[in-house]
Symmetry: C2
Subunit: 335 residues, 2 copies
């Protein structure tokens, strides 16, 4: 049972009869302390139930051993898996994580970054579909390193960890085309977002071109990122004459599938679906849904690892990391 009002470094120093500096040294694992005094200090610490005050430590050392994570929504399976990867390696390196949900609102993203900066975090991991100018500017103004996880910025200057979205979508699109479809729809988020216009759509078009199929703008759909959106866009996809779809979000994909099945379509016989995030949603449905496979946990973990290096001023060869993706063929594609 420890006493409520905690002891300070002064108390233990006084107790042992040494200076604050010495106590500080043993607490911080500094070797320049005689073994015998180290023992005495350690004992006193034990007896007094002393725990260093991290705030004071932060003020004095200018390091908080805390990083900030800015994400759209913890509730979104895709991001929460990245977050888990981040948190695990953060702990591994003894960092704590300050979490902020932004719902992708640039205003909140900006506030979050500024807030984290004033809390003196040692680094920030940023996730979100789009990096607006404004947000990019405030990130540039922060003096803690920032790395993007599962997110691209148009200019491609910030350190980041992703998969190759162009290639991934291209492969998925090619796969359904090879299964005989010549009208494959693609649903993404707003085309104003770089990740859609500069990556997903590009990959999609590349596949079409490779397979000698003319691009048809009416096969492009942009939706919100949830189940209801999938339910809604499904009908439009069908009436556009598509017989397959590449979706950017698993909930959307499942929404599309359920709408189609509820309306008599057979999957995959009548219609094929490939989604992008490979979250648990894809395994839970019948049929299970074919998906681009993303190492979500690893994206987070690698981003965090990179951040530790940055915070440590280590030199990094490549700051734009692309992790390998796969195509997990399941029940919503014939092949």
């Amino acid at each position: 049972m420890q006493k409520k009002s905690s002891a300070t470094i002064y108390d233990v120093a006084h107790r042992v009869g040494v200076s604050l500096a010495t106590v500080s040294r043993v607490v911080n694992g500094n070797n320049n302390v005689r073994e015998s005094t180290k023992r005495k200090v350690l004992d006193a610490i034990e007896e007094l139930g002393y725990h260093p005050n991290a705030v004071a430590r932060g003020l004095a050392s200018k390091k908080t051993t805390t990083i900030g994570v800015v994400m759209p929504d913890v509730t979104d399976m895709y991001y929460s898996e990245l977050a888990r990867g981040i948190d695990d390696v953060a702990n591994m390196y003894h960092y704590d994580v300050l979490l902020t949900n932004t719902d992708e609102d640039p205003v909140r993203e900006t506030m979050a970054v500024n807030n984290l900066a004033s809390k003196q975090v040692d680094g920030i991991i940023f996730m979100g579909n789009e990096l607006e100018r404004e947000v990019l500017n405030t990130i540039a103004g922060v003096d803690a390193p920032v790395v993007l996880a599962g997110s691209v910025d148009g200019e491609g200057k910030l350190p980041s960890v992703n998969i190759d979205y162009v290639e991934a979508i291209k492969e998925a699109t090619t796969a359904v085309i090879k299964n005989g479809h010549d009208r494959v729809a693609i649903v993404t988020g707003p085309i104003t977002h770089a990740i859609n216009s500069l990556h997903r759509i590009v990959g999609y078009k590349a596949a079409l071109e490779d397979m000698q199929i003319a691009f048809d703008e009416t096969l492009l759909f942009a939706t919100h990122q949830d189940y209801a959106a999938g339910l809604q866009v499904a009908e439009k996809i069908v009436s556009a004459g598509a017989t397959a779809v590449i979706a950017y979000d698993d909930e959307v994909a499942v929404g599309i599938m359920n709408y189609l099945r509820d309306n008599g379509k057979r999957i995959p016989e009548d219609f094929e679906i490939i989604t992008s995030n490979d979250t648990k949603f894809t395994l839970v449905t019948r049929p299970e849904v074919t998906s681009i496979g993303q190492p979500k946990y690893d994206i987070g973990a690698v981003a965090m690892r990179m951040l530790t290096k940055l915070m440590n001023n280590e030199i990094i060869d490549d700051t734009q990391i692309k992790l390998p993706h796969t195509l997990e063929r399941r029940g919503t594609t014939r092949n």
Copy 2:
């Protein structure tokens, strides 16, 4: 464009020609400042791009405006929804959230709480299925208020926000019995956990008793909390002769359902299922799964609101809050 090395309160005081105290006052919205000087200070702050250093502020004021959240796993939909509720009201009251995943490991829970304490958080919200003695003790040793969200402690002394688990399970069980089942299985987590032995099983038995059905121990199952576990336990449930099941976790429930359907059972004609958490999983499958309805977001939000009061030393009439639950009848029950 703000300068990198940020200005301190001293800089703005110097710039305006007032004392630190005055700047501090305007920054903190203290009224005892002449309107005209407040303006000047505000201007200087603007020009210098001054942002208060939260760490220094924390040291001086002994308040960090940061709370800690200890949870099993961000990746678990149930908890992440609670977390979202927590985060939203935390922001509303200008608190930041320090997040820790514990995977329900008592050792890590203990470390997390201690770590948060040394980071001087103003309060803690704890989530987890079971509060071991050890964890309870360290919580007692922390001088920041702690509230439990979606979690019960055997002794029931800590402030908490939950639903009435006994009643909820009782209703669910009664519902399937009324649909004609006399052998309904129940799957929970370890019976060593209070929430199972003291709540869920109790509710289950109460329903049996009410409906004059003898309790049969072979209908009790304990599993891990994931899809695979559901797949595995399903067979045992069937061979135990059950024709309905009450599950404590949505992934488990879906696992059970998929196993059964893949093996020729018709749901709900041949077998009924009710789950407990009402996450998105229940809506995404076909049929959709009947579930106890829990106000997950609200549990988090209310817990956080309560924490703000505690941190503010306000008097609270009831510290053991039970929020209303429902029974969402969907496709895995006939009625």
